[in-house]
């Protein structure tokens, strides 16, 4: 007798995460490129503006965050592109759970794969840019709170452009203006820490922005994916 397939929401979430991590672990080079890009861009700044520690320390928060934004644009496409090409995206929309849940799983995996390495090398970036030691913790916190925004908001952009042949440049055009608040709050927090003021205010704002993005983005992503798989 045929009966409906029953999959619990949590199980599907877990399976998606497991599969995506497994897939990513077999194409490692792709994964490392944005990270290397980030380090190279941050290295370029001292070469461009001069190695004076005072200048570097002053522009460090902005440079690190702008570089992080740009490098995240490089890796974003992989969020849905391969799945779109091989049909796994379609199958994801046909899973017996709310699409938003699957989207959250994709966002989580993307965060784990792209943001965690950045969080690990943050001290290196701070060191390269001569960021005063008292601001290191705040820089790390802004990245910790801000990178989920990149993954979640990025997912919206990728969902909208994944079916296009040349979606890459368009993706940055769509996303970067939307991410300006994140850049502003994050650099403000680090600058406050450098100045010895409490960065709690801007950090709370980043947190709020993150919560907003994570709760609302899956709905927009779902709508975008439905347009794209047409």
């Amino acid at each position: 007798m045929l009966t409906a397939n029953k999959g619990s929401t949590f199980k599907v979430f877990k399976q998606l995460v497991k599969r995506d991590i497994r897939v990513a672990s077999r194409q490692r080079s792709d994964l490392l490129n944005p990270l290397i890009f980030l380090i190279i861009v941050v290295t370029l700044f001292p070469l461009g503006v001069g190695p004076g520690p005072d200048i570097l320390g002053r522009i460090a928060p902005g440079v690190i965050w702008v570089s992080a934004l740009l490098s995240s644009m490089l890796g974003l496409e992989r969020l849905f592109r391969d799945d779109f090409r091989d049909g796994a995206l379609e199958q994801m929309l046909l899973l017996p759970v709310a699409v938003e849940i699957s989207v959250l799983a994709k966002i989580l995996v993307h965060w784990l794969l792209t943001a965690l390495p950045v969080l690990i090398i943050t001290p290196l970036l701070a060191l390269l840019m001569n960021l005063p030691l008292q601001a290191w913790g705040t820089l790390w916190l802004t990245l910790f709170l801000g990178t989920p925004v990149l993954s979640a908001a990025g997912a919206i952009g990728v969902a909208l452009t994944v079916s296009l042949n040349k979606g890459g440049a368009l993706l940055s055009l769509l996303l970067l203006p939307l991410l300006i608040p994140l850049l502003i709050f994050a650099t403000a927090a680090v600058e406050a820490a450098v100045a010895g003021v409490s960065p709690a205010g801007p950090l709370a704002l980043i947190g709020a922005f993150m919560v907003l993005c994570i709760t609302l983005a899956p709905f927009a992503v779902k709508a975008g994916l439905r347009v794209s798989v047409n």
């Binding site: 397939n5 199980k11 599907v12 599969r19 199958q91 046909l94």
Partner: protein
């Protein structure tokens, strides 16, 4: 027999071209429907509308009398859709691919599905990444899901492409099994389905200029 899937007054427009309008289809349990028509007539679009991947310009699709747009989760618990693109991850092995689909559909696998993979002719290729396999072999991985699923409704886009004679015969047997168990199938195929195992119903779409 009970009506599983019912399409009402479907209309689809792609770009500026009307593919079909006022299309009616009711799929009963135990029935297999073949969508016939030339390239560009809208066969794939129709399947995607039936699966809820595409929104029709007019009309609605209901599964067991419930419009699918209202309760997608129940519908997808009962549906197996294999489209043009098979949904097989190239970095994963055949077994890993199948295990994933089994798990998300709530089918318990107690051991690696060697037997099923043997059935679709993938003996010895079970644990190498799918990117090392040919297109036809990758397609077979996707089709192996037919032996894993408990879903009563199957929607299959060109399941016979890239299959050899043996594979086709095997698929026919599986279809017959599914139909006699009270399942239903909607599929597209360029070839006529020649088999004595079951009666095929056809829905013809014409190319519209």
């Amino acid at each position: 027999m009970a009506v599983l899937l019912e399409a009402n007054e479907l209309m689809s427009i792609r770009g500026e071209r009307m593919l079909f309008s006022d299309l009616q289809l009711s799929v009963h349990a135990g029935e297999i429907w073949q969508i016939v028509g030339p390239n560009g007539a809208g066969k794939s679009s129709l399947l995607r509308i039936l699966a809820g991947l595409l929104t029709p310009q007019a009309g609605s699709v209901a599964f067991q009398q419930n419009p699918i747009a209202e309760d997608r989760e129940t519908f997808y618990q009962n549906l197996l859709f294999i489209g043009h693109k098979a949904g097989v991850k190239a970095e994963l092995t055949a077994i890993e691919n199948l295990e994933f689909y089994a798990a998300v559909q709530g089918v318990e696998l107690h051991e690696p599905p060697y037997e099923i993979l043997a059935k679709v002719g993938l003996v010895g290729l079970e644990d190498i990444p799918a990117q090392g396999l040919s297109a036809g072999q990758q397609r077979r991985i996707a089709l192996a899901r037919l032996w894993l699923t408990q879903a009563p409704l199957w929607i299959l886009d060109e399941p016979f492409t890239a299959l050899d004679v043996e594979g086709i015969a095997l698929l026919h047997t599986r279809f017959a099994e599914h139909l006699s168990a009270g399942g239903a199938i909607v599929l597209t195929s360029h070839q006529e389905l020649i088999t004595e195992l079951y009666q095929v119903k056809a829905l013809t779409l014409r190319y519209q200029h």
